[in-house]
């Protein structure tokens, strides 16, 4: 018997047993197998029905064995009910048997029946989250024992490797034109004859031997690659062993994982393995499933794990809501509080933020799906408490890590992934597709959030601060000549009054609140400012828009800095505005002289529908049609890039150019208009009008 320390990379069910892949400390990939016995529970309608049912089960070949097990069946109740545990002979017969018993007259309910086999194995037998660090003992390829090693304070991710690839398909012929491969070391583009491109790709994978394969279109792109390999006579082999590939559904490729396209809070493009690890551990799912499941499935998986280990049997669905009057609905169905700001420029403003407000409320008030019953156990607080604590701790650690370092980047990835895990708990709590979803819980969380905001406002005003702006979980307060320490003291006072963690998130030297684009009212989430550390903060303006050209983003950021980096309000309105005007003139001059790099003027937009389904000739539609005409495949959800070349052209197809090249002519008038709009936003925040400067 031998042992090693490593990380659990992937798990899947293969030939009635579990196959587990590990990466050990020396970077070796190890495959082990373990016993898997599928089972589920049923509740007979009565004792008599139970007796009849057992006689039927004895005669059923698909049933390996059965026994009576006392289980909790209702969330919030300590009552144990005798259920029949049915061990199934083969995985293939599992669902058929479940279906049969669901329709059986003697059966009242079926439990633990709607998990995937690999999920059932992980939740009930292995009980270790995928990607965890483990100590493994094995013998002749069989898992003997496994124990989790606590690596919760390790910031760097496990040594999993990943390559990202993108295939370009020629639409008329369906052939692969090229494959672009990205690794942490750089980018490679494989071009030439299709057969050679595919063969080179397979060689590359064999050489690099990555654990994760990621392609933007997930299984679809993988399937195209496989189909074209067959068509061109190339032997398509990406597996590490002879196990059957299970790409469809869970992404397992016999030792490698084809990742899905669901990335919450982190991005595969930025090699977010640290974020992926957090997600996989929370969801109690292999990385392939963790990147295919959306939040509801991930939360459900974690919920089920917490319940199963406490002796619960998991029903198909629970229902906690009761009938209530419409007047009650009107009173309770409300979100958080927002305090609309007054338009204008403010000096010395503190943004006090409730740290992870909704998760903190859930933990403090012990709000869960089961609002009544057993007080000692509440599901949602139990599930999110460790993840929320870890996030707060990582946030503190991040502050002392060197800017630009890899460790800081990993830390951020983990924080972002954990943020989404905690935040989605709130949203999913009242969702009808959540197995335990309860609208009343969702409303109770909102109610507590409103109370916290009211208390925060009152506390700030009692301390002599004026509340400028509030948005659900943060308040922007101001007091003449108040120091940073005073703001921090106020944050501590708010935290003490509400019982929720609150801190001074940003200390603005100047902050300007803007009107909505139509100019009618002050907008809720539209402001720009500069902190005492010189950091620019902006919401809802051009530089925050994903489709804004890089040149515009850069110009606006510099303009904000030039205008607001002053000593006092008077200086902002004189020196600051003058500096901003000079920057604007320089930007317009560069555009008019054609000196701006075309790449920097590129607009990137996502197609919300198929190019043929657009009713209006938008710029992105024209760009998409140009790409299609040149043989590219463009679909809804794809991003298209284009440059304005002549926006007044009668033919909409000639207004933009999707094939961007250096030195191409762009519509100078249009880009001048765009830059003027961006400048106007900045100037209006300080009360200056562009026309009069």
């Amino acid at each position: 018997m031998t042992s090693f320390v490593g990380w659990l990379l992937d798990a899947y069910i293969q030939s009635e047993e579990a196959a587990l892949w590990f990466v050990d400390l020396d970077g070796r990939r190890v495959r082990l197998t373990a016993v898997y016995s599928p089972f589920f529970h049923v509740k007979p309608r009565s004792q008599e029905d139970g007796e009849r049912l057992t006689r039927e089960l004895e005669a059923c070949a698909a049933v390996d064995s059965f026994c009576i097990e006392p289980k909790r069946t209702s969330l919030g109740s300590c009552h144990l009910e005798p259920l029949i545990r049915i061990n199934v002979t083969r995985t293939k017969e599992f669902h058929q048997l479940v279906r049969g018993l669901e329709e059986n007259d003697h059966v009242s309910d079926v439990y633990n029946a709607d998990f995937k086999h690999v999920q059932r194995y992980l939740l009930t037998q292995l009980q270790i989250e995928p990607t965890s660090k483990v100590v493994v003992e094995h013998d002749s390829g069989r898992l003997v024992s496994i124990e989790r090693v606590d690596d919760s304070m390790e910031i760097a991710p496990p040594p999993f490797s990943m390559i990202r690839f993108r295939t370009e398909v020629d639409v008329p012929s369906g052939r692969i034109s090229w494959i672009e491969i990205n690794t942490e070391r750089g980018q490679v583009r494989l071009e030439g004859l299709e057969k050679e491109v595919i063969a080179s790709f397979l060689n590359y994978v064999e050489l690099e031997d990555p654990d994760f394969l990621f392609c933007p279109k997930c299984e679809e792109e993988y399937n195209v690659l496989e189909a074209r390999a067959k068509a061109t006579g190339v032997e398509f082999e990406l597996r590490r062993c002879s196990d059957a590939a299970q790409v469809r559904g869970q992404g397992s490729l016999a030792g490698r994982v084809v990742l899905g396209d669901v990335f919450y809070g982190y991005s595969a493009d930025k090699w977010g393995i640290a974020g992926l690890v957090e997600r996989a551990r929370f969801a109690f799912a292999p990385p392939g499933l963790a990147t295919r499941w959306k939040s509801n499935r991930s939360i459900d998986s974690r919920n089920c794990f917490e319940l199963l280990r406490r002796g619960y049997a998991i029903p198909r669905a629970c229902y906690f809501e009761c009938a209530r009057s419409l007047s009650e609905l009107m009173k309770k169905d409300r979100g958080g509080i927002a305090i609309t700001p007054e338009e204008g420029l403010y000096e010395n403003v503190g943004a006090i933020d409730f740290d992870s407000q909704f998760p903190s409320i859930i933990i403090k008030e012990r709000l869960s799906y089961e609002l009544q019953g057993d007080e000692s156990f509440r599901l949602i607080p139990q599930v999110i408490a460790p993840f929320t604590t870890k996030r707060i701790l990582l946030k503190r650690i991040e502050g002392v890590l060197q800017r630009g370092s890899d460790v800081r980047r990993y830390c951020r990835q983990r924080i972002e992934a954990l943020k989404m895990i905690a935040v989605t708990q709130y949203g999913i709590s009242g969702c009808c597709w959540n197995r335990f979803g309860n609208v009343l819980t969702f409303e109770a969380i909102n109610e507590q959030s409103r109370k916290a905001m009211v208390v925060a406002k009152r506390t700030a005003e009692h301390s002599g601060f004026s509340v400028i702006y509030g948005d659900v979980d943060s308040v922007f307060v101001s007091k003449k000549d108040a120091s940073r320490e005073e703001y921090e003291k106020l944050a501590a006072a708010i935290s003490a009054e509400t019982g929720l963690p609150a801190s001074l998130d940003r200390h603005f030297k100047f902050i300007g609140f803007l009107r909505t684009r139509d100019g009618l009212v002050t907008a809720l989430k539209r402001y720009l400012g500069i902190t005492y550390d010189g950091e620019i903060e902006a919401r809802g303006i051009e530089m925050r828009r994903a489709d804004a050209p890089e040149f515009v983003k850069r110009f606006q950021a510099s303009a904000i800095c030039a205008v607001l980096d002053c000593e006092n309000l008077e200086e902002v309105r004189t020196l600051g505005v003058r500096r901003g005007r000079e920057l604007l003139d320089a930007a317009i001059r560069a555009i008019e002289l054609g000196a701006v790099d075309t790449e920097e003027l590129t607009v990137t937009k996502c197609l919300r529908k198929e190019p043929g389904k657009y009713m209006v000739n938008t710029a992105q539609r024209s760009a998409a049609l140009q790409l299609i005409a040149s043989g590219r495949e463009v679909r809804a959800g794809d991003s298209v890039q284009y440059v304005f070349v002549d926006v007044d052209h009668a033919n909409h197809m000639c207004r933009v150019e999707a094939k961007i090249s250096d030195g191409m002519n762009y519509d100078r008038e249009e880009y001048t208009k765009i830059i003027l709009r961006a400048a106007k936003t900045v100037f209006s925040a300080v009360g200056a009008e562009l026309e009069t400067i």
Partner: protein, 322 residues
């Protein structure tokens, strides 16, 4: 006790004396639309009415709920997609209809209890919870199941959704029959071919179990709706007729709602009661005209104010000229 129960259960509840029926003639809930009442009669306890069509069905349901609130409580089962809207109840419509019926919108909202089924899986459980509420709330005078076949839209899960719908309806129908509460079910309309008559979208059982089925079609004229009686136990069907959709023509009522909002909460109810009594005579007198008493008062006040303005303006002109 068991013998007593058994004896009670064995009584043939289905037989009713003709004289009792005659006496009952005026009972039930009026739909508020006289043309519709003439064809289908008032809504009778224990019977299922299936209304299908477009936006008028929404309005009809709202009106029925308001009218039922005048005599008791209303159970409302909501079938909506969680992501698009939480409830099909239009609170503005409910408030305006409440005022029209001379009721306080707050009282109406308090009298309607609801449950929401956001997907087929939950529909059956919701129906059980709803039935439990109806059973405990003895004052329930009307049950509304709005847009019942909502979850049958997805063809992939239609079979399961249909099964869930039927089971949900059975739970509610059984209880409604036992407690003598009328049930109104609504559904969108569907048409097999352009020449065929409209029929309610949904399961076959849903259509078979309904005692009366009416389809409503909006016309170019907002005030008129074409109704088609598709199914009725004693009337020939299909037969079409017009329904006037203008509630003011059907029923004019006095509404103090706008004014009582100015009063404190503790005096509001007392004020409403006092005022209702005091203005009862005027209300009756005004039923034959299109003006409401408070509108008349407002008009009088406006005329007086206008007169004062003119007087002051004239005086000012005189002063200026002097």
């Amino acid at each position: 006790m068991e013998v007593e129960d058994a004896r009670h259960d064995s009584q043939p509840a289905v037989f009713v004396r003709a004289s009792e029926l005659m006496a009952k003639g005026d009972s039930g809930i009026s739909t508020g639309y006289s043309e519709l009442d003439e064809v289908i009669g008032r809504l009778q306890g224990g019977l299922v009415y299936l209304f299908c069509g477009g936006s008028f069905v929404d309005r009809l349901v709202h009106r029925l709920m308001v009218r039922a609130c005048a005599v008791g409580k209303v159970g409302y089962m909501n079938n909506t997609d969680y992501y698009s809207e939480k409830t099909l109840v239009d609170l503005d419509m409910l408030a305006s209809l409440s005022k029209l019926e001379g009721m306080e919108p707050d009282d109406v909202l308090e009298s309607i209890y609801f449950v929401a089924a956001y997907n087929a899986q939950r529909q059956r459980k919701v129906a059980s919870v709803f039935a439990e509420m109806v059973r405990s709330e003895m004052q329930t005078k009307l049950i509304v199941i709005h847009n019942a076949p909502m979850f049958l839209v997805d063809p992939k899960s239609r079979l399961k959704a249909s099964e869930s719908l039927n089971k949900s309806l059975v739970i509610v129908y059984q209880l409604a029959a036992r407690m003598g509460i009328p049930v109104v079910v609504t559904a969108p309309a569907t048409q097999i071919s352009k020449l065929a008559t409209h029929r309610p979208f949904g399961s076959s059982w849903m259509r078979h179990s309904a005692r009366v089925i009416v389809h409503f079609r909006e016309t170019g004229n907002e005030m008129r709706v074409v109704a088609t009686l598709i199914k009725h136990p004693s009337r020939p069907a299909p037969v079409s007729f017009h329904v006037s959709a203008d509630e003011r023509v059907n029923d004019k009522k006095w509404s103090p709602s706008k004014y009582v909002q100015l009063l404190g909460e503790e005096h509001r109810r007392a004020f409403v009661e006092l005022e209702r009594g005091a203005w009862e005579t005027e209300r009756r007198a005004c039923e034959c005209v299109s003006l409401l008493p408070f509108d008349t008062m407002n008009l009088t006040a406006s005329v007086f104010v206008m007169k004062e303005i003119w007087r002051l303006r004239k005086r000012l002109e005189e002063l200026v000229s002097a």
